[in-house]
Structure formats: C-alpha cells, structure tokens
C-alpha cells in the first residue's frame, strides 16, 4: 500500500470554495429560471469563480475555512453593489445567505484530528484530508457512490467476484497544470488507477483536477471519470490473486478503455436514472458523462483523441456482442446479464491484458455492425458486400453458445483467440511469442 496524497492546501481552497458556491447556486437554478434571471445567476457564478481563483495565491498560514469565509464575504459585497442583481434582490439575498451559511459550517478545527493544528501546507495535510477531509467531501462522496455502485454491479453479475481477493481501495486527488487528457471536451478532470500490490491487492484511484479550470462542467464530469476508474480498473486482474503486482493497462487498450468503459457509462446512466443516493444532479451528471464518453470515441472530431480509434474498437465490440446475445434464442431473454457476466469476469480475471485486447479486436472483426434503420441503399449494399460475413458469424455464434452452456469464459476467450482473422486470404501472418 502506498501513502495516499491529496490536493495541496492552496488547490483545496479553490476546489472547496467552488464546490460549495457552484452546487449551492445550481440548486437554486430553477428559481432563477422561473424569475427569468439566469443571466443574474451566471453573473454571480462568474464573480465566485474570479474571486476563488485567489486561493492559489493564498498563504498557507490562512486556514481553509477562514479563506472560504473571507472570500465569500467579498463576493457578497460585490454582488450587493452590482446594480444588475437588484431586480431579483430577494432571490439573490437568499442564495447568498445559503452559501454564507454553508461556508460558516465549514470548520477546519473540527475536521482535523490534530486540532488545534489544521491543514497548513505540511505533510500532515494528506493525513488530515484522508481521515475526514470535509473540504473535499462532495468529491469523496462521489467516489464512494461510484465504488459502491460498481461493487453492486460486480456482485450482481459476475460469477467469480465472490471468489475474488477484493482489493483495498484508496482514493486520492491531485492537481495538474493542463487538462489531463486529450479528449475534445472542456472537462478538466481525469483519473488514473495505480496498483500497490506488494502487501495484497490495493488499487489507488486518483482524481486529477486542473485547478485553474475547475468549473461547473468539470464538476459534473467527475462522476463519469470515477465510474470509469472503478468499473474498468479497480478490480481488474484480481482473480485468481497470484500475489504479483498487476500491470496498469495502457490508454490504447481496447478492452479496458473501450469495452469496459461502455459498461461504466451504462452503469452511470442506470444509477442516475434511478436517482441513486450520492448523485446530486442526476440528469446533468448523466448527460455530461454521456458527452464525455462519446467524445472519447469521436474519431471524426476536429482534434480527436489519439486513443479514439482503439477505444472505438472496444466499445463497438461490446455493442456487437451484446447485440448478438440479444438475438441468440439461448440468451436473448437475459442478454444483458450474460454480457455483463462475461465482461466483468474477464476484467476480473488475470488473463493477460494483451489477450483481452486481442479478444475485443476479434469480436469487432467477426461481428457486423447493425446498421441504423434509416441506412441508405448504398450503406446496406456496402455492409453486405464488405462488413458482413455470415460464415464467420456462425462460427462465432457456435463459440458463444458453447460459452453459455459452460460459463467458461477463459475457454471462450482462448477459442476466440484461435480464430483466424476473418476473410484473410493468402496474406496472413501468424506470429507468436515463440519466434
């Protein structure tokens, strides 16, 4: 296990104050909309964002709670002298009071287990935040929600999760200078899961935030990032536990970053739609997550992510297999469960990540894409001519049927790996590690 680290004090001053202000303001958004005062709300939000940016220059000797309180009072004064807010004075006063009250309830001395010593920019800060961390509590709660939903999903659908040596899971936060990904969306948040398995399986999820750019959209996108890390990476490769440090998969991995990400977004959408506890703005967090997910696989964007094509292979393969399971008589009544069982088992298993990736590529190549109902004649002809291969599908369907009978995912993956690339004629190379 490795020591858990968190955002430095200055960064937390920005994040904590913005979390508090942004969520309080957005909770009041319906009232502002009713009074046709959305511009006013945007103006107030802008003032908070500008003023809280000073957190990065704040002295370490100023405790976080005092910084937040002082900053909010300055904003209140600015809002009160702003003539544009006077048409909706009552509403504005009410929201300022709410924010002020919440800021007053933030107490570093009651948070710190070393009180009267509170966070001061020293090493002990990480331990204080790890033990209670009231300043980033909304983020920690998001992580707990994502983790518990993920565990629930694995418990419900995986056939081997019960036998898993469940990894201990830590949550950490980090500040980064630039947007921590190359995906074409204005969300300045990313995640990474590191494995510290020397004393048993341990997964450490780190949420990386670009502090300067931490705004509402980024807040909304955090939930999806956390679902991604939990579903795709936290439990990866723990069954059977061999006592060896797991290798992180790379950003190109079609299975981990494409196939499993499909499940992560599916789970987030499901949890948001049932208003699961811990998802405070379900519709917004769901839609933002979906946008993030789609942007990750948007190879047609003006500046697409350099990993987009590999992710597309994985997500497309997942959708194709789900579609096949939905069409086979043996599995169609419960195709989603079958699909999740296979996917989660495979992710949990200690199958070599290269094997999982090759599996995703093979599935993608063997199964045709289902065309949209409004497909043109040219698309249909082209699909039949080049994309569809009924003999290959039939071979693949046989393997799926066998898997449904035996539930032996390892054998299934192995058999898929042995399939030759479909329609390769005369120019196939078969390379193995035995070269």
């Amino acid at each position: 296990m490795s020591a858990v680290t968190h955002l430095p004090l200055n960064a937390r001053k920005v994040v904590a104050s913005r979390l508090l202000a942004l969520t309080s303001l957005r909770r009041q958004q319906p009232q502002f909309e009713r009074e046709d005062a959305v511009q006013t709300l945007a103006g107030i939000e802008d003032l908070y964002l500008r003023q809280t940016a000073t957190g990065l220059r704040s002295q370490n000797s100023v405790p976080l709670d005092r910084y937040v309180l002082d900053t909010f009072r300055i904003v209140s004064q600015q809002v009160q002298v702003d003539t544009t807010t006077q048409d909706h004075a009552a509403l504005v006063d009410s929201v300022l009071q709410t924010i002020d009250a919440q800021a007053s309830s933030l107490s570093c001395s009651s948070c710190s287990y070393l009180a009267p010593t509170v966070c001061n920019g020293e090493y002990s800060d990480d331990q204080i935040v790890e033990r209670s961390g009231i300043c980033i509590l909304p983020i920690t709660n998001m992580f707990r929600t994502a983790l518990s939903s993920t565990v629930g999903c694995y418990q419900n659908f995986s056939s081997i999760f019960g036998s898993a040596t469940c990894p201990s899971v830590d949550f950490s936060t980090a500040a980064v200078q630039k947007r921590p990904h190359d995906i074409p969306v204005p969300y300045y948040v990313g995640g990474v899961t590191n494995y510290h398995d020397s004393a048993g399986p341990n997964s450490q999820v780190c949420l990386c935030l670009c502090i300067d750019e931490f705004e509402w959209e980024t807040y909304l996108a955090m939930m999806y990032v956390l679902f991604h890390e939990c579903v795709c990476h936290v439990f990866q490769g723990t069954v059977p536990w061999r006592g060896q440090t797991r290798q992180s998969t790379n950003a190109n991995d079609a299975f981990a970053e494409g196939w499993m990400d499909w499940i992560a977004q599916w789970l987030l959408i499901g949890e948001a739609d049932r208003h699961a506890a811990g998802i405070e703005f379900p519709a917004l967090q769901r839609d933002t997550g979906r946008r993030f997910y789609l942007a990750r696989i948007d190879s047609g964007a003006r500046r697409p992510s350099k990993y987009a094509v590999a992710r597309i292979i994985g997500t497309r393969a997942a959708e194709k297999l789900l579609s096949l399971l939905g069409a086979l008589p043996e599995s169609k009544s419960d195709h989603l469960s079958h699909f999740l069982r296979l996917s989660l088992d495979l992710n949990l298993s200690s199958v070599d990540p290269k094997g999982r990736e090759a599996f995703a590529w093979k599935v993608d190549q063997y199964l045709p894409e289902r065309l949209p109902s409004q497909a043109t004649d040219a698309q249909v002809a082209s699909s039949i001519a080049w994309d569809e291969n009924p003999s290959a599908v039939a071979r693949f369907a046989d393997l799926v049927r066998n898997y449904l009978q035996t539930n032996d995912f390892a054998a299934f993956v192995h058999e898929v790996a042995l399939l030759p690339p479909p329609e390769s004629r005369g120019y196939t190379i078969h390379l193995t590690n035995d070269l």
Partner: protein, 439 residues
C-alpha cells in the same frame, strides 16, 4: 436480396430457430422472414411446435438440414458476390461523377491498425508487445483486403499498413540481426514514399505524416543503417507537394541532427551531403514555417563536418554498374557512392559498351542475366576491344564460376553489400580517394 442474405445468414448462425428467432437475429421483419423461409424450403426441416409460443399460437420450430450447410454457405457467398459487384459499381460511378477524390469512409479498424503500428509500436519495448501489435494490425486489416480493389481510400490505407508492417518487421529483425542490408531499406524507401503519396491523394495527410513520423522515430533510429535509410526517405519528402509532409520531413530532419549530435556519431560523407542538401531545399521552401525551421536546423547542424562541399566530386575512381533491373542497379550505385566512389549506372548493356569505349572507368560491375547482351557476352566484347578494365560479375543465383581472364570476381546479388563487393573493389581499384585523404 438484402433480406434474403440476412435471413440465410441468420439460419446459418442459429442452426435451430423459429421465424421470430430469425427476425430478431437478422433484424428483418417477421413477415418477410416467413416469405423467405417459404421460398428456401430446401435448406430447412420442420421440428414441430415451440412451447414458448404466445397468444395461443405456437411458433413452428425449424432446423437447417445438416447436409445442406455447404449449399447454404454457397448461396450466401453468391449473394455476397452480387452485393460486392453492386457496391463496386456504385463506388466506381460515384468516383466518375465526382472526380478522382470521391469520399469513401475508411474503416475504423484500418485506422486503428495503422495506429497500432505507427504510434504504439514505437512506444513498446518488448518483443511480446510488438508481436501483439502486429497481430492486432492483422486482425484489423484482414477483412478489408478484398475491398481494396474497389475502394481507393481503403487501398491507400492498406498500402500504408503493409509498409508499416514491413518496417516493423525489419525493425524487429534488425534487433536480432543487425546486418539487414541496404537493399531491403532502399526498396522500403520507395514504398514509404509511394504509400505517403497514395494517402495524400486520398486526403489523408495526417496518415501520410504518421507514416513518415514512424519511419523517423522508430526505435532503431540509432542504428546507422536505419538512420541513413530514413534520411534518404526524408530527403525526398522535403520536396513533396504536400505542405504537411514537407513540414513533417524537415522537423524529422531536425530530430536526426539532434540525435547525431547527442550520440556524437558521424554520418558517412554521402549521407552528410544528402542531409545538407535536404536542409538547403527546405530552407528555400515557399512556406515560411518550413523555411524558418530549416534555417534553425541548419544552424544546429553546423557541427557536422563540412568535408563534402556540394557539387565537388567525392572521388576520382569511376565505376560503372550495368544491370537491366534499374531499381537494383541504382541501389548498388547509391551504395558505391556512400563508400566514396564515383559510380554511374547503365541499364542497357549495348549502351554500356559504348560508354566504356568513350570514357575511362576503373571497374565495371555487370549483371549476369540481362536482356540483349548477358554479362558474359558483354565481358567478351569488352575484352575483344582490348580493354583491360577489371570486371565483376553479379548473379542472382549466387556466385558462379567465372573465367579469370574475363572477370576478377563473381558475387551474389542476394548478399551484395557491404563486405563482399566492397572488398573486391578495394582490392582492384583501391580505397576511395576521400578515405585516402582522411587517412
């Protein structure tokens, strides 16, 4: 035809089914499925009623007759062939209508395969990981090869992919066998530029640049032979019509300069000349950014020896290479020039004879099997004219026994360079003038 194709495909995959199963699997309307089933009775047999039928009406259950699997597959193949003919015809028409650059979607799998070999390959370090990426590329590309003939965009990407694969395989081979010869690299050089051209024509400048970048940033860039080969690719790419390709090429040349300086290695005189010439071409480019980059790199390249001023002959020894296979002959000439000799090429043996009569050569290397005169006949005619010039015979069938009055040596074309031929030339002509001066 579409519906029939899909329903037959579903029958093949499901083996046992109800009409509803076929409709679900194929996405074809249930009534249409029933019509197709009615017309295709030869393939299936009735298994009775399915207990899961709804609304009192139970579905009939069918199965494909085991002896009909082959015929069913043939029927599907036939339909697919028809679809391919239609798709190809449609593509051809649309190309004719809209000029040479009809836009056709390139399958994502091909782009992912390119990505695996062009970008990911350079980031891997183990043989296992590299083989994995080659396998992924093969999985991603295999099913599109047949499409290539009717889809130029697809074809360009496949062509680039084949080049990338070849580069990757050579890089793997070179790790274990550093003696991969320049002939292989010279052939690849042509392929790389041709593939980049094809990609440019298909409006895929990113991929063209990708290809070049891979060529330059491959893990074996530090190997002298590879570095020199890459330098030659880039030296041609700086004159490419695409601005993007020229920019990538000049920036890549900058990387090569930095690498040479960092590793404190030296380029052979000929390569150094190629590098300087390429930078000179870039410095005169019509684009500001390229000119600026080239000037900057030229300054960084000042540490290079300036022993080979442009335009001055490197050596006084003149060699003539005669081979009716122009690409092979030119490779040999290029190699001789690298060693510091002044080498010339002639593909027609009769013209070669005229040149030998008209001027002085220190040595002639001739292929054995050529159209018109073969190597033996050429040698006899040279001797008949009382020329004592040393002759070397090359043969694609390995070294052959030769008449010592005619030839000073016989070498195999398969392993031409560097040792064997160079030794022969050094023995009969001497070391290149340049090396003498340096010594």
């Amino acid at each position: 035809m579409n519906e029939r194709f899909k329903v037959l495909g579903a029958m093949l995959a499901l083996r046992e089914f109800t009409a509803a199963d076929l409709a679900d699997f194929s996405g074809v309307n249930l009534n249409t499925v029933r019509v197709v089933l009615g017309r295709e009775k030869e393939f299936w047999e009735d298994l009775g009623r399915d207990a899961s039928g709804q609304r009192g009406g139970q579905f009939l259950r069918y199965r494909v007759k085991p002896e009909k699997f082959g015929v069913l597959e043939e029927a599907i193949d036939g339909l697919q062939r028809d679809a391919r003919a239609i798709a190809s015809g449609r593509h051809k028409r649309s190309s004719d209508e809209s000029g040479s650059n009809a836009t056709v979607d390139v399958p994502v799998s091909l782009l992912a395969a390119e990505d695996a070999l062009a970008r990911r390959f350079t980031e891997t370090t183990t043989l296992g990981d590299r083989i994995h990426l080659l396998n992924l590329a093969e999985i991603g590309a295999a099913k599109y090869r047949e499409q290539a003939s009717s889809n130029p965009a697809c074809n360009s990407h496949l062509q680039a992919l084949e080049v990338l694969r070849e580069v990757c395989l050579i890089e793997i081979a070179q790790e274990s066998e550093p003696g991969i010869g320049p002939v292989a690299f010279a052939v690849l050089k042509e392929k790389v530029l041709k593939a980049a051209d094809a990609l440019m024509n298909e409006n895929a400048p990113q991929q063209a640049a990708f290809l070049l970048r891979h060529v330059v940033s491959g893990p074996l860039v530090e190997s002298d032979t590879t570095l020199q080969w890459k330098l030659h690719v880039l030296a041609q790419a700086v004159s490419h019509e695409s601005l993007y390709t020229r920019l990538v090429a000049v920036l890549a040349l900058g990387k090569i300069v930095d690498r040479i300086q960092l590793n404190k290695t030296a380029l052979p005189p000929y390569e150094e000349r190629v590098l300087r010439e390429a930078l000179r071409v870039s410095a005169a480019d019509k684009d500001d950014e390229i000119r600026k980059s080239a000037s900057e790199i030229q300054q960084r390249a000042e540490f290079l020896r300036s022993t080979s001023p442009f335009g001055r002959p490197i050596s006084a020894q003149r060699l003539l290479v005669v081979d009716d296979q122009e690409n092979v002959g030119r490779v040999i000439v290029e190699q001789l020039q690298r060693f510091g000799y002044s080498a010339e090429f002639e593909s027609d043996p009769t013209k070669a004879l005229q040149r030998i009569e008209g001027s002085h050569f220190d040595l002639v290397i001739t292929d054995y099997k050529m159209k018109g005169l073969n190597g033996l006949e050429l040698a006899k005619r040279i001797r008949d004219r009382n020329h004592n010039i040393p002759l070397v015979l090359m043969s694609g069938y390995g070294p052959v026994t030769v008449d010592n009055d005619l030839f000073v040596a016989s070498v195999s074309k398969a392993d031409l360079f560097p040792v064997e031929l160079r030794d022969v030339i050094t023995k009969h002509v001497g070391v290149p003038q340049k090396q003498k001066q340096l010594a």
